[in-house]
Symmetry: D2
């Protein structure tokens, strides 16, 4: 048995190592369905016990995944449909979705590393309203009800010398939003999930997730208000790729020939702090940033 | 008499409308000298009374200006000399310059508007150390004494929905720096000052300064720790250009022919929210960002 | 009489100094109408004689202007309507608009200077097809007829050491497009025209136009194939602002009091290589880049 | 035996699969030495026969490699020393290095993908002189002898619809440089070579090299003038990582247990168009761009 924890930010992938029977036993409920008209497969995982959280290595809460292979392509109308569906799913777990509130959107990640620039890209395209509503009132938008939306890109620790969580916590204490929505690039276990899967969760962001090292949690516990996280896997940990490839090959061999333990592979592969990503990642991240920011703009409209 | 306040962020220019005799009377002391070996003219203005502050329309405190016409050019060795002189001047008004302390550098302005990108550019090139010192200690740098330097680019209100001052205040309360150093692009009154003048002051940044609208003060009063501001004028307010050009022309006429009042000119010129800048502003801001970040790196070394 | 040529890239503004009667006399025909449903005012100027070209200081050819004040705002649906109208206007002077052809889009200007980044921004968002059609055929798009669209951002001379025209000419000779479409930021005479006016012309781009110094013509004469130019004024020459402000003031005085000649104003104003632009120019250029690239994508679809 | 060609752009790595004896036989000469004072290991490989070219899968010519592990770090003085050594090595194979000539620097790669942005970054920092020398003469630099340096970033085919080679060829025919120097991000076979190895060669750039798909050769044959290429490996092909990891593990087993053929591994790994890179690649590429552009500035000075 291995003590190596293969890294994935997707509840969907964490599930794969657990059997159906065990899921029920451990208080993990799973619902799956297709939205055929937009070619999206939706999975809703609810982890409702500590036992389940331990088995999944994910905190208790709701995890919604939209899988949309066509999302990698450049069809603008299709992306609008995805934005609308994503908005619906976000609203389904957004506390106070139909009430006026103040929402802070946090774009985690590194603007200067293409595969990690999803969060900053979403905030760049966000429709922010807080400053206008505060200065001119809702009348400025000819609306009776308006959310106050603000956005921040805290940057990465190597550039700021500070944890993203320190910056966000400070901003939260000053501006008192009712709710935080964090966007981040995620790490998947398998390259087949890259750039076509969106995960929405009400558990926030845990230490060590994402491409960069966004330490310290962005969670309700830490920040004092609910934290919804939206993410798309854009990279796979390089060591994971090697481990998985070898295990896949070994599986086809008789037991006695399975020569390599996961840990020994990992130790030998010298791939710390390396990740795998695709060649057209610039176009993909640019497009996903629009799709997600559009979803937020729709979800935040009253 | 005009009620129109011509806008300048430079104490040097604010001085120009005040006579020598009046300066003394009002508690404004001025010292000027040349550093010939590096072709820099240095002016140190101290405003030590409220009366002087009112006359100058600037808060009480120290204002140091380095004028270096050659700074616009691409001579790398020269820029290093300027960085060294600037570091010396900064240290001359930096509280606790020789003690270990924690310093937060704030890069005001808009990364996406070339003439307003000085602050973000300086933070991009800054040597940040806080996260390393906190995690590995000073040993990581083989030093016995180290400042802890952090940096933030708060962004502009149109993009974040928040005042820069709200964000900085939150970060200050979370990370408790001993000192803040703010960098910003300034507005000059005259195009001759553009891109060749650096102002250092211990009075922080006041509302309405700079290219963008960075409202709410970044001052010791507001943030609770000393605030040093470093700025370079990169733009002139467009209305000011017109007013000044006309007044310059009128000055050559006999009194009775001076037909236009400042206010009427301004009213007619429809130049609100417009500014004047140079065509090669991209190269200049890029170079100045390096020169200033290098100066900060030198000033913060113990 | 002044020998100073006030600079404008807009035929619309060049017209303003010419009387109605003189227009007819000189072979300048003008047609104007409103598209009320989309709040656009369209002006079509045809210069059909050398005499007219001289009076207008613009080459013979067609000039179409769309004035849409609401274009400065962030209404996405409205921008789509503008894109569609602009596509129609472009097609009205595009040679071979309904035939399959190869089109090279040239994005002039400087990516690093916000007000000059319109051309690069349009090419960034363009739907390029040439490489796909050449490698996989039209089948790749499930279409029977496809234009082959390519795009280039030649950069500015200060960065490349070459004229944009040299680079474009080389690319044209290698890739043999049937048609060139150039996009550039323009200079207006009046700030009221900024960011709300789109000019389309079949006369290409002349030396000295635009924000930067894109010397050497991009014209049919020089490049050997038809050149359509699309531009939006994003700046006003700083000297022009001053000259115009003073002349406007003087106009209200009796003749004898008009004391300043245009040339003397210009000489005194020391504003060479300076320009005036607005504070939110980053958002505006970003939005205009999308609107124009969308118009090109529509116009180039068969 | 495998028909799978493990991909590397480094002659140094291509050599590793060839024995000493075979090298001599095939006309491959190798010289290695250390420059201890700057901690650089230099390898000069000369392929002087077709036979050698085939064995190495690299064209005949000179390949110089500088290995400098410390190059990954942020020591500015050290980088200047590397720039100076690199300049010396470039001059050693630069035709007409001491004569006045016209040099076109080509920055291959994709500005928007961090690991592929080395070429564009170098051109951004290059000292271009061609336009000044042509307009004002060498006097503008107070020099008696000056090279005319120009630079171009052709962009990637997905963005332009054109091969980089088409664009460069067109520019070469228009501007007639005596020499081309191409800069590109390379792919290494091993992660240990990343970001610390610089290769200089007089064989130009071959199809399929680098991160992106820069098809069509940039070679003397194709462009008509000598082509020097300078590159740094910033990525490893993802499939190569997996193949190499498995082969390394298998090597420790008795022959009979070596169960996986290279081709089967590769087939199963589904890693086409994926690459591996490091997490702090943004800082590294930024720094390397400066180091190389500085080396070119030194090498081109007469």
């Amino acid at each position: 048995m291995s003590c190596f924890q293969v890294r994935t930010d997707l509840a969907l992938e964490a599930r794969e190592s657990i059997g159906k029977a065990e899921e029920e036993l451990r208080g993990i409920s799973v619902e799956e369905y297709d939205k055929e008209e937009i070619q999206v497969h939706i999975t809703r995982v609810v982890i409702s016990s500590k036992n389940g959280a331990k088995a999944m290595n994910k905190p208790m809460g709701n995890y919604i995944t939209l899988e949309a292979p066509a999302m990698q392509e450049a069809d603008e109308d299709y992306h609008r449909e995805i934005s609308e569906e994503l908005a619906r799913q976000i609203k389904s777990i957004l506390p106070g979705a139909d009430e006026e509130q103040s929402i802070l959107v946090v774009g985690l990640g590194n603007r200067d590393v293409t595969a990690d620039a999803l969060g900053p890209g979403v905030v760049d395209n966000l429709f922010v309203t807080r400053h206008i509503v505060r200065e001119y009132g809702k009348a400025a938008y000819s609306k009776e009800r308006m959310n106050m939306v603000s956005g921040i890109v805290p940057g990465v620790m190597a550039a700021t010398g500070m944890e993203a969580a320190e910056i966000v916590k400070g901003v939260v204490e000053q501006t008192k939003p009712d709710l935080i929505l964090v966007v981040d690039a995620l790490a998947a276990r398998s390259t087949k999930r890259l750039n076509r899967t969106i995960q929405v969760t009400d558990t926030g962001i845990q230490p060590g997730s994402g491409v960069g090292n966004h330490r310290n949690a962005l969670t309700r516990d830490n920040l004092g208000v609910p934290v919804i996280a939206v993410g798309v896997p854009t990279v796979v940990d390089a060591a994971t790729i090697v481990v998985d490839a070898i295990e896949k090959l070994q599986k086809e061999l008789p037991e006695k020939d399975r020569l390599f333990g996961t840990d020994s592979i990992r130790t030998m592969s010298e791939l710390n702090n390396m990740y795998v990503t695709g060649k057209n990642i610039d176009e993909i991240v640019k497009r996903l940033s629009f799709t997600i920011s559009e979803a937020l703009n729709i979800a935040f409209e009253l």
